[in-house]
């Protein structure tokens, strides 16, 4: 049973309760920094770190934080870790830090992070909260990677800076510009809706088929 809960805490963020696709949180970074794979990875890793660290700390102190000031406490904890991530990125990968610009600082107001603190880490023990944060973090980073890959491959014709199609490829520049972000995420959302719809039809169609066979 406890094994099941732990696994469930971890994997629900990947698809079933994916923070971007299902909960529709954290759209700003999903659209803004996915114009290349490298940016998407840096953003994903930074958000992952902040999410896991904040969930850990919030869950640890949850019994001592009065209800009235819990949101402010969460925000302060998150802001502290974002400052750490900001400085770490500036020291380790200055180019990417420059490319991401204000969006690193904006991790503070990424609703995924505050949402997980309020919905999960503030009420659950440390182990489960960290698992939940890891799952959500991977789910978020996954979407960023998909978006980054689609946009970089179509918009520049390369993956992680390596050209894919040779010199005669005419890049689809609009994909790395703002409209491309909206369109790519829109198409990802449509595909997910189509997938769900088909699953529903199949689930409804299966018993009917079985009956026909029996007859």
């Amino acid at each position: 049973m406890s094994q099941n809960t732990a696994t469930d805490d971890l994997i629900k963020g990947l698809w079933r309760e994916n923070p971007v696709l299902v909960q529709v949180l954290g759209l700003c970074p999903t659209l803004a920094v996915t114009n290349s794979v490298a940016n998407a990875i840096a953003m994903g890793v930074a958000t992952f770190f902040v999410l896991v660290a904040s969930s850990f700390l919030v869950s640890l102190v949850r019994k001592w934080v009065p209800d009235e000031v819990r949101i402010s406490t969460y925000i302060l904890i998150i802001a502290t870790f974002v400052t750490v991530a900001d400085m770490a990125l500036a020291a380790l990968v200055p180019d990417i830090h420059k490319a991401l610009g204000a969006f690193i600082a904006l991790i503070v107001v990424n609703c995924i992070i505050l949402g997980r603190q309020e919905a999960f880490a503030g009420k659950n023990p440390v182990g489960r909260s960290v698992l939940d944060a890891v799952g959500m973090g991977i789910g978020f980073t996954g979407i960023l990677l998909v978006m980054g890959a689609v946009r970089e491959v179509l918009g520049v014709g390369s993956f992680l800076g390596h050209p894919l199609f040779g010199p005669r490829y005419e890049p689809w520049v609009i994909m790395i510009l703002p409209p491309g972000g909206f369109l790519t995420l829109g198409i990802v959302m449509l595909m997910r809706a189509w997938f769900q719809e088909r699953k529903k039809i199949q689930a409804a169609g299966l018993p009917a088929k079985a009956e026909r066979k029996a007859a």
Binding site: C28, I75, L106, P178, G186, M189
Partner: protein, 192 residues
Amino acid sequence: MGKLALIFLSAAVINNFTLTLFLGLCAFMGVSNKLETALRMGAANTFVLTLTAVAVWALNRFVLPSAPYLQLISFIVVIASLVQIVEMVIKKVSPALFRALGIYLPLITTNCAILALAIFQTNRGYGLAEGVTFALGAGAGLTIALLLMASIRVSTETAEIPAISRGLGLILIISGSLSLAFMGFAGLLSTG
């Protein structure tokens, strides 16, 4: 004077916060289903943006030079308390307006456009007048985007579209087209 007009125009249409910088998307997706709420949300945001610009200018001038590492934390604390104060004042002064704004007022705290404004303003070294103009322009930009989106969504509600595109997929595609239209403003001024 010319410089201020440039800042305003640039923030309102050329670098529109919502459609080209992807800021404040939660509010954009969430409350753009009716023209009236969209307008109110735009107004409330503009108001808080302007106050934030003043507060951030004061912080940058008097507090942060001695403690630069506190930048992010002090910004978020100031924005959160500002929204709280605005909420209390409006509740006291005009209960009718308070009811009209409803849940949208506290939600402004987590609207990334506000924090982004604070950071941009700091990075570009704007003074008081420039900061306030920038905030007004950004607010106007948000309001324009919200109003456009709301008017389009009102018409899509009665349109016949495939079932799977009801909801976010369609909104994102529409935003993409709007964003494409706003790209047209990019060449309007040579300095962004």
